[in-house]
Symmetry: C2
Subunit: 318 residues, 2 copies
């Protein structure tokens, strides 16, 4: 089942169910947050709408302005679960590797998630504007202390995220140990949130086993496989819920999708390429984004169909 | 003007205006978040209710169950603006001092703020359960890039916070540079949020110039002055808004209230006392909280009246 949120002038928009091919939609009569607040009750009603869409009902999605599936959320926790990404960041920024055996995670800005096609207003090019292609999950209410196995059943939706980063501002914030405020403005999210069953066996071990294609200014920049996470999403959920319960609508990100054969497959963020240049030539040569630059991100099922829709954005002076 | 939220079975509760002495209330017919979303429109209506309370109207607050003023918020950013607190933490945890000239701040759990009298369920005593007495502010919408002077006018309400911390879990999370997930469960907030004018000249330079009295298991533990912040709240707001706009209802904390004469005036958290013991005896001797322990925190105006009401809580096994 594919869900999306249509902009309607309210902060949370209107939830719709979308046909498998993304071409038609039916209104759900609630918000995404409300659906997640009582998922066991709302899921059957939403699935009934999905069946009507399968039978050909619904209005065209042409010209529809999709918001992010959750235009705002009560909690956004971003992991960094791809070790090859972490190693390249340690190379680039001269930071220490993290303690082994536990996921990396920070709490980020959640009061605004940009739509997949919104311009991205940022204050200064010299802040080191970078995209970060990620997969993410959305939970219902998760009790404190769940095991990874229990956590798996709380993963209700999968999403695709561009976690914007301001790289020049990141190292000084990391050094404080307090995490990021300046380096992490609002993320963007692809239009469709999907239930895990849509992926078939591409959803297993709490991981999205699909490549994430990233184009920068119209040229392929990376196509790394999502399945290479050191910790699965279920382990990230359990990590997050160790000393807190998670509210319904908690979004957890994978961190930048990255594979150890990054020289062949490319990267989902510019900082990684700069890390590779550090390794190969002793210094980075690729610059970060300029105002007017575009980025496109998409994931396709093995049959070639777009899964989450596409993120396609331009960075502008804010 | 004093505002509070009454528990009514909904996640956001019902906003009330409270008389200056906290004894009577009148319903505002909206939530605190709604009031903050359009503060310029709602403030005159709320002030009209406050005048009716001044004239003797309103129902008794006896037996009323107050929630936190914002039972949940879209954004909670906690500073660490008292240098003497920072120095004692560096002593206790062996961490480096932060880069000078810029505030310290992290983004924390905001989907739940506990009421001032709720039991606090935490999983394990050995996590190092600690209270942290703080002052805080609540903003309306703040545009990206405001100056500290502009930020001052966006500070609509002052609050008093207990920022619960799990000290044994903090150092390993700090070392990652990603900030805290495990070490920072939900905060508690005193019942009354007040407009800055209530403080008279005790609100100046973006600081609360009042002592915060902290009692642990019925014994005075600290009474530090709030005015000793290295950076005022207006500077914390401007710092937070450097690369993002702040949503209405953003709560920003001062960090643990602390004064450099901590040996005389005491502390607003246990970790500080342990830091002092490190300085004086080479090792800490005061243990963190046990299940069943209580903490009380209150701030009084110079005339002796309770400003925010009191936080009075018990830690229990969660």
């Amino acid at each position: 089942m594919k869900l999306a949120t249509i902009e309607n002038g309210t902060p949370d928009g209107a939830l719709v169910v979308v046909s498998a091919d993304g071409s038609r939609h039916l209104p759900a009569g609630m918000t995404m947050q409300a659906a997640l607040d009582s998922w066991n009750a709302s899921e059957p009603a939403l699935r009934a709408l999905a069946e009507r869409l399968d039978a050909g009902e619904g209005d065209s999605t042409n010209g529809i302005a999709f918001a992010a599936p959750l235009p705002r959320a009560w909690q956004w926790l971003d992991g960094s679960a791809y070790r090859s990404h972490g190693e390249l960041m340690e190379t680039l920024f001269g930071t220490e590797p993290p303690p082994p055996g536990r996921p990396l995670m920070y709490q980020g800005l959640s009061h605004q998630f940009l739509s997949a096609t919104a311009n991205v207003p940022l204050p200064r090019e010299e802040d080191g504007i970078d995209f970060e292609g990620e997969f993410g999950i959305v939970t219902d209410f998760v009790p404190m202390g769940v095991t990874p196995e229990q956590a798996l059943s709380h993963i209700k939706l999968l999403v695709q995220i561009n976690d914007w980063s301001l790289r020049a501002l990141a190292p000084v914030e990391m050094k404080t140990g307090f995490g990021w405020i300046h380096a992490k403005p609002a993320c963007s999210v692809a239009p469709f949130a999907v239930t895990p069953d849509v992926l078939g066996d591409a959803w297993r071990d709490g991981r999205v086993h699909l490549p994430l294609a990233v184009d920068w200014n119209g040229e392929r920049f990376g196509n790394a496989e999502g399945g290479a996470m050191e910790f699965g999403f279920h382990e990230l959920v359990a990590h997050a819920a160790s000393t807190r319960s998670l509210c319904a609508g908690t979004i957890i990100g994978s961190g930048t999708v990255s594979n150890s054969n990054f020289r062949e497959i490319g990267s989902a963020c510019i900082a990684e390429r700069r890390g590779i240049e550090m390794l190969d030539h002793g210094k980075p040569s690729t610059s970060f984004m300029h105002f007017g630059d575009t980025v496109r991100m998409e994931a396709r099922l093995r049959d070639g169909s777009l899964l989450f829709g596409a993120i396609e954005q331009k960075v502008v002076k804010g």
